[in-house]
Amino acid sequence: MSASVLLLTLQVAIVATVVNLPLALAVSWLVVKKRVRGRFLIDLLVALPLAIPPVAIGYFLLLLLGRDGPAGAAIRAVLGVDIVFTWVAAALASAVVSFPLITRTIMVAMGAVDSRLEMSARGLGAGPWRVFLTITVPLAYRGILAGVLIGFVRALSEFGATVIVAGNIKGQTQTIPLALFTSVQTGDDQGALQLVAASIGLAVVTLLVHNWLLQKSRLQNVQ
């Protein structure tokens, strides 16, 4: 196993999570706090990628981003590049697949923040944006962190959607799960075991970082 597989896996998962987080916060706020019209529909759309096979999501992304797809054609016209079969497509596939996990976790966390506290902050002179940043997010912090963790580990292990829309190109789109698939297919047992060990290592490090962040927030609260 080369270090590039590990780095590419991390790169894809980090980009997917970084793209997802603001979007998940915004959607959660609209549904849980703003209680916009049609939130039932939004809720359904958010949950949808959970319920359909990742391969179907990959296929849908391929249709959308492919040379002749509406999004693919537009990107090609503006930037002059193709997205499919690049690491960007892999990150996008991971983002779509992990979005329901991060969003639904954050929704629950935000829903648990007492709206009377937010009202109090409004009454004390804070606008909606400030209330979000100083009351809602800090009080939902642990849930947001949990959402990020779940989304990130899901992105690390993403296979089905990625293989369709990004392919399995060594050094370009081959993340750990894809490399593992190749190793198993070609009977490279030693390579496969190395990749499994790398997956476990990544999971453990992620959990440790998560716990460290939690600990830090708890210490701040006590002060």
């Binding site: 506290l117 009202m119 109090s120 902050a121 409004r122 009454g123 004390l124 606008g127 800090p138 009080l139």
Partner: protein, 378 residues
Amino acid sequence: MSPSSAEGTTVPVLSFRVKKEFQNFSLECEATVEDGVTALFGPSGSGKTTLLNCIAGTVSPEEGRIEAMGKVLFSSSVGTRVPPERRRFGYVSQDAALFPHMDVWGNITYGYNLTPKKDRQLDPGQLIELFQLGPLSTRNVTTLSGGERQRVGLARALATSPKLLLLDEPIAALDWVLRGVILRYLKRIRSELGTPMLYVSHSISEVMALADSTIVLSEGKRLAHGPTSRVLVDPTLSRVAELATLENLFDAEVSSVQVDDGLAELRVGDATLLASDVFAEPGDKVMISIRAGDVILSLDISSRTSARNAIKTVIEEIHPLGQRVLVYTDIGERLAVEITPGSLRELGLHVGQQVYAIIKTNSIMIMEPTQPRPGPGL
């Protein structure tokens, strides 16, 4: 506190006309609130809190107009709706709603830091002192007691130098003793800071102790509005108020404590009262409660009685309210006494008459934490 225009006419602190429909309830109320403390009194479900939320801006009325200090905050006809953060009201709810992720100081300065410098009239240090929060300022608010939380809530709201303090039953969730403590702080806000207050309450005793004027709400409609002393004797009020539990809530100062018989001498208004079970020291300021039904009126004190307090006083008002009669006498504070229509007839009581108010020592309740203070040897 209330600003006057060049012509000398006073702009009301708040004037509102609010109409809000619910499925099986409709609120329709209109009033002008002046300086001082205004109570919004009514039984639960009468629409008091909804009305307060309309004024605070967290609930939008269907129809109406809300104006504070000459500035329109809400108008259904013009389509104005100033958001709560720009209304400059302080809001204190029953449970204080303190921010659990900030310490006491963080809570108090939250709104202060958001208040434009030119509008800052009270600073957090001053409020910490007023509410005696100094030793608590770095404490995590989740570790505070109910009374402490409410003190922080009041300080936090006042730190924004509000034009009006909106109080939604701020002491209803507290135990009886702590109610007295917070009530004393509310009275200090009135006398030392002069911030106008709109005080939602379903306790007639609190209203009587605190409010200069009172708006009575019942089933979403205004039943009465005027000076508290007038409104509370309105015959229509007996329909909505629990007069049976009417308490006189007075500020008192402990003048001496007689250790041997456990009695303490209290200064209340012009009178000196003897009370039992007082865990306080001379010089302490406390709030006391005397139930109107526990006071006896007597034409003379010739008859021997076990009651230790007999205060010579004059009847100021007599109000027959259905099954009971409310008599107000002056002991330097307005002392409400509840008697029966039969007693009124037999004694032939009338306004201006001299009587004795007789109160047993154990009818005087001290509304302060009762645990004895540790002595020097402890």
